[in-house]
């Protein structure tokens, strides 16, 4: 192969983690005599609203999205992640991931190191946790250390984190005891429609890329229904590649706990699919997929996790925009770009994550934005077009949708709008409201059969 051609990278850590038992007989044997624990959503430490469900982490770990992580982290690993953003096996990783439990539940369970715990979900056996360590955490300290602060991380952190930050709230709402050890899924959950057709765990994604003849693939991270600005971002970013543009565009939607005002997950995935069904990007070149994860909104840290997930899925490139996975002004709006082009020494990156030992291979593609230029009479790139442009803001568009006014096709494709209205009819609301958030966390994205 020519030296100019980019090859698909190996998974982060060198191999895909796959911890899913598919033989029910074997699975039943594995949980024989084990104490059971029903997975509970993490509730906001003040309001009691669901903010996370650890089942999503178990799914993403066991299906290899978070390779090389294999389970709930031990105390030494959490400390290393917080200090250097590295696992004990040296591979870079941005966030602590733990199975947290209350003191009452721990006492009731009476488990100890060496025990196997059967985790149930919606009342059905789901996974096992082989307990290697039990330790106590201070959730508030964990929350602060996870995201950094202006004194320790002056390169990118602009303000102290607080309860207005949803990621900080997730860690602050953790229970104080951690059961550390490897997870294994022993009863494969079935993704519910419409999520089932977007479920491409890393092995399946890599196989799909092979089937499609995609050597180079650029990922588009999303938590939004696509407007035409997003579509142009995808189309144009895909011109990055090697000797030819990227063969494929992978849209990977983060599916997890929602915030009020977000579009429903169902509308997001089907909205992206409508882009290819409508032919705006050929389906042969565009694939919509999901990952289960309750976003931490850690801007540069989140981008690192996104890089890991998409490299594991087989992508060669990753688009990163301004304010990537950000909320508020806690981080510099270009913190992600700083990480991927220069590094952030205080977070353990004296160089970009692609240039440090045990780092990533996926290539960052830092894009700005597209908006309509009435002079050029087309969607124009902010760093190229010299005219005054009409900006496409998400809130402007949301206001239009809420009013029941169909956005013109230069802003939102009619096929995408139809998807928004389809789910609006189903939920009685175009965006996530309290009812949607509560129901979603009750029903989750999966169902389980009896084992």
């Amino acid at each position: 192969m020519s030296g100019l051609l980019i090859e698909r990278p190996l998974p982060h850590g060198g191999r895909l983690v796959e911890r899913v038992v598919t033989d029910k007989k074997v699975a039943r044997k594995m949980i024989q005599g084990c104490p059971t624990y029903e997975i509970k959503p993490t509730l906001h430490y003040e309001t009691g609203v669901p903010v996370r469900n650890v089942y999503r982490e178990i799914m993403s770990i066991c299906y290899g999205f978070f390779s090389p992580v294999e389970g709930s982290m031990k105390q030494a690993e959490v400390e290393r992640v917080l200090k250097e953003r590295r696992l004990l096996n040296e591979w870079i990783f941005p966030y602590p991931l733990v199975f947290d439990i209350s003191k009452d539940d721990l006492n009731k369970l009476g488990v100890t190191v060496g025990d196997r715990l059967c985790l149930t979900l919606k009342g059905k056996p789901f996974a096992i946790l082989d307990i290697e360590e039990i330790y106590e955490i201070d959730p508030e300290e964990l929350a602060y250390k996870t995201f950094g602060d202006p004194e320790t991380n002056p390169e990118v952190v602009q303000q102290k984190f607080d309860k207005k930050h949803p990621g900080w709230v997730i860690y602050r709402s953790h229970q104080p005891y951690v059961l550390a050890g490897k997870y294994t899924i022993i009863n494969e959950p079935k993704l519910k429609p419409p999520f089932d057709r977007f479920w491409f765990p890393p092995r399946k994604a890599r196989e799909e890329f092979d089937k499609r003849g995609w050597r180079t693939v650029i990922n588009h991270q999303t938590r939004n229904v696509p407007h035409v600005g997003h579509e142009f971002l995808m189309k144009c970013a895909a011109f990055t590649g090697d000797v030819e543009p990227c063969h494929g565009i992978l849209v990977n939607a983060v599916i997890g706990v929602k915030r009020r005002g977000d579009y429903p997950d169902e509308a997001i995935v089907e909205g992206h699919e409508a882009v290819n069904k409508g032919g705006y990007i050929k389906p042969e070149r565009h694939l919509v997929s999901i990952v289960l994860w309750d976003m931490r909104y850690g801007n540069p840290l989140e981008s690192l996790l996104h890089g890991i997930i998409r490299q594991n899925m087989g992508c060669t490139h990753h688009m990163f925009g301004r304010d990537h996975a950000a909320v508020g002004e806690y981080y510099d709006k270009f913190a992600t770009q700083i990480l991927w082009t220069k590094g952030i020494p205080s977070f353990g990156f004296p160089a970009p994550p692609t240039e440090v030992p045990y780092g990533l291979k996926i290539r960052p593609q830092n894009m700005r934005e597209f908006s309509y230029c009435p002079t050029c009479k087309e969607m124009a790139y902010s760093e190229t077009c010299g005219h005054k442009r009409e900006k496409l803001s998400g809130s402007f568009l949301r206001g239009m949708v809420a009013e029941g006014v169909q956005p013109p096709s230069i802003i939102m494709r009619p096929e995408v709008y139809k998807v928004v209205v389809k789910w609006w009819k189903k939920f009685g609301y175009p965006f996530c409201n309290e009812k949607y958030v509560i129901n979603k966390e009750k029903e989750l994205e999966v169902d389980l059969e009896d084992l």
């Binding site: 206001g399 239009m400 169909q406 013109p408 802003i411 139809k418 609006w424 009685g428």
Partner: protein, 119 residues
């Protein structure tokens, strides 16, 4: 500063607007793809809107935004009814303020979807 509110126009609203004599006042954005009207708001009416609806705000152009959807729908109804873009339109909306507030309270639970084919 002159204040105004933007009324967005899609095909269904354009049909209702026909014959009101307001067609010449339509403004265009996004290469003529987005049609809109601007309704005049006096200083006094602007203050009333801000006092009645806590989410309402005035942006840097003088546009009043972030009012409930029920307000915006009634704003369009009043434009058609009054065949005007003058302050009497917002006056007409504010005359129904209790009804709008009641609907706004329910807005976080339910918003009527547009009547379009989705399958």
């Amino acid at each position: 500063m002159a204040y105004f509110m933007v009324v967005l126009l899609d095909d269904s609203r354009m049909a209702k607007l026909r014959g009101t004599g307001l067609e010449d006042n339509i403004k265009y954005m996004f290469g003529g793809e987005l049609r809109l009207l601007e309704v005049e708001v006096s200083e006094e009416l602007k203050d009333k809107i801000l006092a009645e609806f806590e989410t309402a705000r005035v942006d840097s152009r003088g546009a009043i935004t972030d009012v409930p959807v029920a307000f915006m729908r009634e704003l369009f109804n009043q434009v058609v009814e009054k065949k005007s873009l003058g302050p009497e339109v917002v006056e007409g909306v504010l005359a129904k303020v209790d009804e709008i507030k009641e609907m706004a309270a329910k807005e976080s639970e339910y918003l009527p979807p547009p009547d379009i084919e989705t399958e």
